[in-house]
Amino acid sequence: MREGQGDTRNRRLSQRLLAFLSRRPIIATWYGAVLLYFFLLVLLPTLFVLSFVFTGWQAIQGLLSARPEVLGTIGSAILLSYQTAIIVTLVDLVFGLPLAWFLVRRAFRGKSLLNTLIDSPLAVPTAGLGFSVALFWGVTPFLDFKPFGSLGLVSSGLLILILLHFTTTFPYMVRSLSAILKEIDIDYEIAARASGASKLTATRTVTLPLFRSGIATGATLVLAKALSDTGGVVTALTTIGKFGVNTADCRAEGELNGTALIAAWKTLSDVAGCQSSEFTAGLALVAILMIVSALALLVVVKILTMRARIPMKRIFPTWEKRLSRGIAPRIRDGATFFFLIFLVLIPSFFLIGFLLVGSPEPIEWNTLYRSIYFSFMIAGVATAIDLALGIPMAIFIVRGGMRRLGRAMDVLVNVPYIVPSAALGISLSLFFTQQRLVPVPSLFFIVTLAHVAFTFPFVVRNVTGALEGLDPAMEETARSLGARPLQSFRRVTFPIIKASILAGAIMAFTRSVGETGATLAVAGREAIITAPVYIVNLILEEQNFYAAALATTVLISVSATAMLLMRYITRRAR
């Protein structure tokens, strides 16, 4: 009896609370706070480094006159980054399209197994991937034996980076292509073929043009990922002997791309004997160039995919027919699976084999556990902040009722994702050491903020996607039945978009756990050692490949368990 009363009182209280929170000024304040946070602690710090052009112009000039060769170093590093990213994107497209077709348009057994296989490289932090890929393909000057099954072929930095980024990006490409291909009605293809078009002609003239947005999304994701990665690049280049930090001369050595250069200079700027002000200017310059060029490249990609005329005017009926049947499609499918297996899957997991053949070396278990603990702490806090801010932000974008601002936010939210995370880290640390607006309690705090900045878009993207697909009439119906806005959200909208929220949270969390660049750029290699940073340290400082492989394997198992757990929860939630 008394319990029942308590229940009613509680419910009444929570209703009054919801009603209070649903009041217009309260909601407006809430939106305002979220927007303020975004501009002040995400967007502004991300782009803060651009102001260095004005505030630090003298430092940059000083650097360039003292060390004129720096400009060449930066130029070739950024060139290497872009060469890699563009080649990887094109190759991923060539093999991603048939694979997406295969996954979406064919019914076969073991489809979910294939899906899991394609996604599996995502469970490996890129620091581990770089090392694994380089062990498989590359020459390994620091190893006194050739691991069983490794090819030992590649000694070029460009080539190893391309091979590395197949493994880091291909899952993203296939995922985004197949997500959008699913939305394209197969009847278009049937209509084309009923009109006499061969499969190839139908694909070329009808499906691909309808597919532009999918290609743009996939290409954007892959470019951003390939430009942004640091951990994988550093470990891959180190393993083949193309990354070195010469603390005696204060020089970075080897075949460095943009992010590797940032990592190297950041290390040198902390070395006592080197002039840290020079490196600050240099780092800012690299970060500025990478941010500006990344934004420009993405605009170009967007324009290219939207403008390019894929249905070329000419048709070659006999040739296209011949290519559509018989041996040609089989060769295409064969090549696709060859790519998936030999250029993505085996290189990704080669390091597990290395554990079996390498000679065991001691590993500091305590440091490893601490690093994993740090990684999960940062990822957990960042994901929690992502959710608290990302969901209201998504609602604001889709339902906020301010069309212009909503649309602008929709674009702006992506900026921290597109900007290479190492550059973002440089920008953030510059911001927090120079500004006086926000008190900075600790380095841990800045690292977490950096992680929020580049994982935040995952939550917003997923939730806006789900909200856009949701009929507002459902919520209106609930409102018409007397529910307050917040109540109708909790009772009607939330249960439906729950799956997308979880998907966004999983992406944000795993991205944060696997990320190296921003952490290194903010905190260096010593102050905050997350698991990927620990792996980089093992390879870079000690050339302790065995310990690195072991640490990566442990991290893979922990992340895989976490992912499976989340997937289980997601399925339950549905």
Binding site: A191, A194, G196, A197, A202, V206, P209, I315, F316, P317
Partner: protein, 364 residues
Amino acid sequence: MPLVELRRVTKRFGPIVAVEDVDLRVDDGEYVTVLGPSGCGKTTLIKMIAGIWAPTEGEVLVDGRDVVPVLLEDRDLGYVFQNIVLFPHLSVWKNATYSPWVRGLGEEEVSSIGKEVLRLVDLLDQSRFFPRELSGGAQQKAALARALANRAQLLILDEPLSALDSRVRLELRYQLRALVKDLGLTAIHVTHDQEEALSVADRVVVMRKGRIVEEGSPRELYRSPAHIFTSNFVGENNFLEGSIAKRADEWALVALRNQQYLWVPDGRHSVGRAVVLAWRPEYLDLRKGYSPNGLPGTVEGERFLGSELRYIVRLATEERVSVDVPLTHERFKVGEDTTVEFDYEKMLIYPRPYEGLEEALKLE
């Protein structure tokens, strides 16, 4: 020789049997409609004719040739979709000339075919528009033009009018038939709308639950449907259940429920046999007072149908019937007693289906 022939065709999707053991012949120049409730397997049937799906069992012959191994693009037919499926990124002109273009015909030929088919559907002056800029009716016309540009003898239409407004649907219905007949084409037209099926077809094929129930000319199907399902699905019907109590020459006395009796013309069913009598609403009449070939009942409702009035009457047998009468007919009030008169000439009589009447009439 028939143009299209299906022999014992079955299609399964896992455990679902979408089409079961279907035999069908369509002659050259014939306009055939396939009529059935949605989900009965109509689309699956024509997709097998078009070569979009291969049958699980059975043969598909076109011009006497087995076409199952022939790919869709080599089938030589025009296909029109229920959901229209114009290519959204191409103009009406590009859509209409898609077929000659992908077949690699010369520019002049492509353009003359485009003009010809767009003139046929009366869209020549809108050829520069994009599909989304057209009305629903115009979109489906453009899709028809695209199918015609294939220059095929066989036209397959999957519910071509279902996505359109009712007025447009009526107009296009007759244009479609006229076009097919003028060009001397063969058409297989799928629909769930019985009025549409009857009004355009030379022959109607009725499907239910993946099987063909019966086929015949629209007139035959409406006047004397052989299967009790058809009698209700093609046009409406009223049913009275009973059994033969007595016979005299070509007449039978049917014992209905609640000790009601009716003499009806029937020479086929023996005494004791359970039967169902069926009349369409327009074959019944209402009058005040007793009638020797009628049954007493009570008026339960009245509906205005435009050109006619429909009375819903509960008979003494506890069965409900609909009676359509002209507006000029003498009026009845709800609750009033009446007598329903039956036109014996127009009566249909069926043996009572073993699965029960309700089950036999169910759509799926």
